[in-house]
């Protein structure tokens, strides 16, 4: 399944393509999932009457009531623990951490409890737990409300970590997360809430661990996930139009499990690869992907694996600084040109 499936399918049948925002796609997934399965409930800060601070859960309390849409104390450890205990007892909880940064507050319950229970118990526990959260910078939310911490999460065996890059993917991946019998963390990007795209009306699932080739190209592979797919697409369009460089953009969609096969296949095809992420460069996914690509496709590479990521500092508040912190289309273009050994304008 690819990001364009919905559009293609609709075009083939001649039907009108229905568009939803990123947030709308998530919200629709929640409604449809909760209608389908009585064991699904959502708990978190402000998820009830307020529908979540960003509106992710808007309207759910009206339809499903306080029993299934639960306002909790501001207590991230207990929120995740609530999900773990309820999951072990047979429910299918969705628990919300308002900001991805709050993962750090709940890390014992996430990494020491949820991730390991099954293994520690000799396989006897099932943990159909979904943790939803909101990551990403670019809103002047400063250092404690903007981080991309996926590298920390996907370092923990037992967790699945999902970073959707479009409304279509967000809905399908959310469905997969909730139906999965493992603890999953799905990270919405805060700057994508209003982004619109085609989203099928029915409930559909995008399998976790299966990436998507967003754009075909022959000159260089760009691995990106979350909002960086959109920025990379802008960069690719410009490079194609202005310099005839054809980027292949591959989106793993889930960073744990990681679709290494897709990434390696693309690297073998283009012989050059750059990884783009919002998280800081040091110890980020780019390092892991670079390592895996050199293990699997060393002889195919014509250049070192490039990494385009945030610098090694906390995220600044001021737009004047933050604008230079998060990778954007311009920085991605420059990084791609560098990997291609082409002159970088203004460098």
């Amino acid at each position: 399944m690819s990001a364009t499936t919905a559009t293609e399918a609709a075009t083939e049948t001649g039907a009108e393509v229905r568009e939803l925002t990123y947030l709308g796609a998530f919200n629709e997934a929640m409604f449809q999932l909760m209608r389908e399965d009585e064991d699904i409930f959502v708990a978190g800060e402000d998820v009830g009457l307020q529908g979540g601070v960003f509106g992710s859960f808007k309207g759910l309390a009206d339809e499903f009531g306080e029993r299934r849409v639960v306002d909790t104390p501001i207590a991230e450890q207990a929120i995740v623990g609530l999900g773990i205990g309820a999951a072990v007892a047979g429910l299918r909880p969705v628990v919300d951490l308002m900001f991805m940064d709050f993962v750090m507050v709940a890390m014992d319950q996430i990494a020491n409890q949820a991730a390991k229970l099954k293994y520690m118990f000799g396989g006897k526990a099932e943990l159909p737990l979904t943790i939803t959260t909101n990551g990403g910078a670019g809103l002047s939310a400063a250092a404690q409300n903007s981080q991309s911490l996926e590298a920390m999460l996907c370092h923990v065996p037992g967790l699945k970590v999902v970073m959707p890059s479009s409304p279509h993917d967000l809905k399908g991946l959310m469905v997969a997360c909730v139906r999965d019998n493992n603890p999953t963390i799905i990270v919405k990007n805060k700057r994508m809430f209003g982004v619109s795209g085609p989203v099928p009306e029915e409930l559909y699932e995008i399998p976790l661990g299966v990436g998507n080739v967003v754009r075909q190209g022959s000159d260089v592979t760009v691995v990106a996930y979350g909002r960086m797919v959109e920025e990379s697409a802008k960069a690719a369009k410009r490079l194609s139009e202005e310099q005839g460089i054809e980027c292949e953009i591959v989106d793993p969609r889930t960073v744990q499990p990681l679709d290494t096969d897709m990434i390696v296949a693309s690297a073998k095809k283009t012989n050059r690869i750059v990884v783009v992420h919002e998280a800081v460069r040091f110890g980020g996914l780019g390092a892991e992907i670079a390592a895996q690509v050199q293990e699997e496709a060393f002889d195919y590479l014509d250049a070192p694996v490039g990494r385009i990521a945030a610098p090694f500092s906390p995220i600044p508040f001021s737009p004047g600084l933050e604008g230079h912190y998060v990778p954007n289309a311009k920085r991605i273009s420059a990084g791609i040109l560098e990997t291609l050994g082409r002159p970088v304008p203004g460098a």
Partner: protein, 324 residues
């Protein structure tokens, strides 16, 4: 109200199973036949037994760093437990959990925990599931005095109180958090004082008296089943061995005299004296039960020793549930 003879026998049986299992585990540990860490429950048997006799089979338990006693009291299979403590293939967790993660989900025992305070949020989640389903099942969070100082515990109990969940919080106050006296790390004398801060009732019981614990647990469980929310029980008790391992005496952090004083209040000795003097259970019958448990424990040790080490092929199994 004095419990029935049947209940008394049950309390005694569970306490003995814990005591003899733990003593045997301690010996094996001393003989280097048990890898890793061992946190023995000896001394505190009246708490787990009193509470678990009061519970129904469908009620869940989340346990602690010192969790063997809770599994035994919930009806755990001593052979599978012993094998697990030895890291063997036939253990409860196939050798992947050990002492700190021992569990039996079929008995609704949701696991001991390697993180102090880590279990309370899980019990609250189980309690949430019970309320969600509209059944009258209750979850019990066992925890030590030490865990009430950690954030997760506070978050969990506050949430249970706020959401009025059917959870019974049972504090095993053994006066030490690892190797530090409780009064050095807590500015209150009774842990139960914290209950008021959550707006839930709290009660202190003699944690060396299984009958008293049983009675308090029955009340707390009934209250939860009626939909009236959590109750906090503080059981004053004591662990005979160190935080970890089998050493008892000659330590700096507590005096030998103190250990001896508590041993005079031993929960099993006191219980046996009480029921025989009252003519409720005969000394012969108590001795027969002890022999029976001794045989069960010997068989458990043998089972554990004969069980193979886990096959290396299992190293990477059960990290994830495979999805079709």
């Amino acid at each position: 109200m004095e419990p029935s003879v049947e209940v008394l026998k049950d309390l005694h049986h569970r306490m003995l199973r814990i005591r003899l299992f733990e003593e045997a585990a301690g010996k094996l540990f001393e003989g280097n036949k048990m890898p890793g860490f061992l946190h023995l429950y000896v001394g505190q048997e009246a708490v787990a037994s009193g509470v678990c006799v009061a519970m129904r089979d469908d009620d869940q338990v989340s346990s602690t760093h010192r969790g063997h006693g809770h599994l035994v009291a919930k009806g755990g299979d001593l052979s599978k437990m012993m094998a697990e403590l030895m890291g063997k293939a036939d253990g409860y967790c196939n050798g992947k959990g050990g002492s700190m993660h021992i569990c039996d989900l079929d008995l609704n025992m949701l696991g001991a925990n390697g993180i102090v305070g880590g279990g309370a949020p899980i019990a609250v989640g189980a309690g949430f599931a019970n309320k969600y389903r509209g059944n009258d099942t209750v979850s019990v969070a066992f925890f030590g005095d030490g865990s009430t100082n950690i954030g997760a515990f506070h978050e969990a109990i506050n949430m249970a109180a706020a959401l009025k969940l059917p959870v019974l919080f049972v504090c095993e106050n053994n006066e030490y958090g690892e190797y530090t006296r409780r009064d050095k790390v807590m500015a209150i004398n009774d842990v139960v004082d914290r209950a008021a801060g959550y707006g839930i009732p709290g009660v202190i019981v003699d944690g060396m008296d299984a009958i008293a614990v049983h009675e308090a647990a029955l009340e707390g469980l009934a209250r939860a089943r009626r939909g009236e929310g959590p109750t906090f029980i503080e059981a004053k008790t004591y662990r005979y061995y160190n935080h970890h391992g089998v050493q008892t005496l000659g330590m700096k952090y507590r005096t030998d005299e103190e250990v001896d004083e508590w041993k005079k209040k031993d929960c099993i000795v006191a219980f046996e004296k009480r029921v025989t003097e009252a003519g409720l259970i005969s000394a012969e019958e108590l001795a027969a039960v002890r022999r029976e448990v001794e045989i069960e424990v010997e068989a458990a040790v043998e089972f554990g020793e004969n069980s193979p080490m886990p096959d290396v092929s299992t190293l990477l199994t059960d990290v994830y549930t495979e999805m079709a």
